[in-house]
Amino acid sequence: MDAPAARGLKGGVSALSLLAVAALLWGAALALQAYREARHPQPPVSSDVLYFRGGAAVSRAALGFDAILADVYWIRAIQHFGGTRRSESGDKTYAQLYPLLDLTTTLDPHFNVAYRFGAIFLAEEHPNGPGRTDQAIALLERGLAADPERWQYAQDAGFVHYWWRQDYKAAAEWFDRASRIEGAPWWLRSMAATTLAEGGDRQSSRQLWQQLYETTDDAWVRDNAQLKLAQLRALDDIDALAVIVRRFVDARGRPPAAWDELVAMRWLAGIPRDPSGTPYELKPDAQGGVALSERSSLSPLPPQFTRKTGPTT
């Protein structure tokens, strides 16, 4: 810089003016970039290429930063699951969910929640999840291999068999396996026996989720148990409402057009709502003529616990 300019910097030109020039140039650069992107749109970046798939190789190259990398992949797994679940796209494959969880747990084999929440994510039925109960069980088995004393993984595997697969024999075996691990609560043994004896009974299922709800320290596991309990309550509500709708059909020879008709007859105190607060819907083609709203956060309800009462008409 020549001498007059330097003098100007020290005396005349204020730092504020230079800051304004810098801001102006920066703003112009951003505007030009926006213009270029509008004229020449960039191809979308495939998220596949941003992440490795071989967990063991990444772990070797991490140079002691395995744990923080595992955190990055865990955040990525949550974003992938949440983003896909919320997306309007019909193509909800959750294709990256298992590879991301696999990477997370390879980088940090003791990442407790990655196994537990990961199994919940993987087991959720389509479109709320990939419905890959096999992968959920495989993930929990890997967790048990890394930490054999964690009875919670065996318990979670039992829940996957119980809730999503309706394989009550396998569920009972997992609960029994969990109960044999040192430090497991006493009620796991009775849970195994109840599951084997009563299988898909709604009441025994309620007991199972209630136990999990009351004993877990983890907020997410508790929230999941609370959701399942609310779904079971909704199923009970729907059964009770179906009886009232049937009475109305018997009395009038047609299904009710709206809840108001039942309220006017004082058969209901008000518009019936599910545990999430969303009104139930009258649907003549639904079993019992009553259904949970698709807008409800409890939707879809587990099909294995729905009573076969037949349509109202």
């Binding site: 595992a70 955190d71 865990w74 003791h110």
Partner: protein
């Protein structure tokens, strides 16, 4: 002797303060506070684990950069600025110069690591205060787990090893090459265990022996990493910490001795 070493060390520390090296602590604090807020929104209740991971990883990265980039310039800068001539005509022995330089950077790193550890505990304390249920959710290890100090202690000794390597290279090489060599050894140091078992993957007995020899000659840095273990509340025994620290201090001592030998033989006439 001790007074001269102390003086050299003090000047290294003072220079690092003057060069605004400690500014990285501000960056660290901002990173931790910012992350503690953002991570809570993203991680499905894993805030404590991830903050601990992030704090330890950031301390490791910042410490490594300080150890390498200041370490490689410790001797080279004095030679380049020709200030080494003024120093050596004074009653300063060459080994006092090298040891003083090392201890000065060790002091800078100690201040850095101590402040970073305190900042991590402060952020964890703040999170516990703002979310009273956090302690119950952290089932693997307490939020304010004193075990974290073991990870910081081993990290510090690891950085002393890296500093000694950087200082050694600094006695005969320019900063670019020294930094490349030191980073190279840092990477090799994390794969070192492979060399110990090299004989099981090659047929040649000589290659196996060479692998073993390199295993002992090169710094073994992987055992210093207990970050994941302390975050998951797994026990890290005091004996393990003592043995690993002992190895690190002895290795750093050996590198400083080599640095003294090389520097003593250099001709500054």
């Amino acid at each position: 002797m001790g007074r001269v070493i102390g003086l050299v060390a003090y000047h290294v520390f003072k220079e690092s303060v003057r060069d605004k090296v400690l500014y990285n602590l501000v960056l660290f604090a901002v990173l931790m506070i910012g992350a503690s807020y953002l991570i809570g929104q993203l991680t499905a209740g894993q805030d404590v684990k991830i903050i601990k991971d992030l704090g330890l990883a950031a301390s490791s990265v910042f410490g490594l950069f300080i150890a390498v980039f200041i370490g490689v310039g410790l001797v080279w800068k004095e030679v380049d600025r020709r200030s080494v001539y003024n120093l050596l005509v004074k009653p300063v022995r060459r080994y006092e110069f090298i040891v003083g330089k090392f201890l000065g950077l060790a002091l800078t790193l100690a201040v850095n690591i101590a402040v970073m550890a305190a900042a991590l505990y402060a952020v964890l304390g703040l999170m516990t205060w703002l979310q009273p249920g956090l302690g119950k959710a952290a089932v693997e290890a307490p939020v304010m787990d004193p075990q974290l100090l073991k990870a910081f202690a081993l990290l510090y000794v690891q950085l002393l090893v890296v500093t000694s390597v950087a200082l050694f290279f600094s006695t005969f090489s320019g900063p670019m090459l020294s930094a490349a060599f030191t980073f190279g050894l840092y990477i090799v140091g994390h794969f070192n265990a492979d060399l110990a078992h090299f004989d099981s993957v090659v047929k040649s007995q000589a290659a196996g022996w060479l692998g073993k020899a390199l295993y002992y000659a090169l710094p073994n840095l992987a055992p210093f990493d207990v970050k994941a273990a302390v975050v998951h509340g797994q026990p890290v025994s005091a004996t393990y910490v003592a043995l690993t620290s002992g190895y690190g201090l002895l290795y750093a001592g050996a590198m400083i001795t080599l640095a003294v030998i090389v520097f003593s033989r250099r001709d500054f006439k």
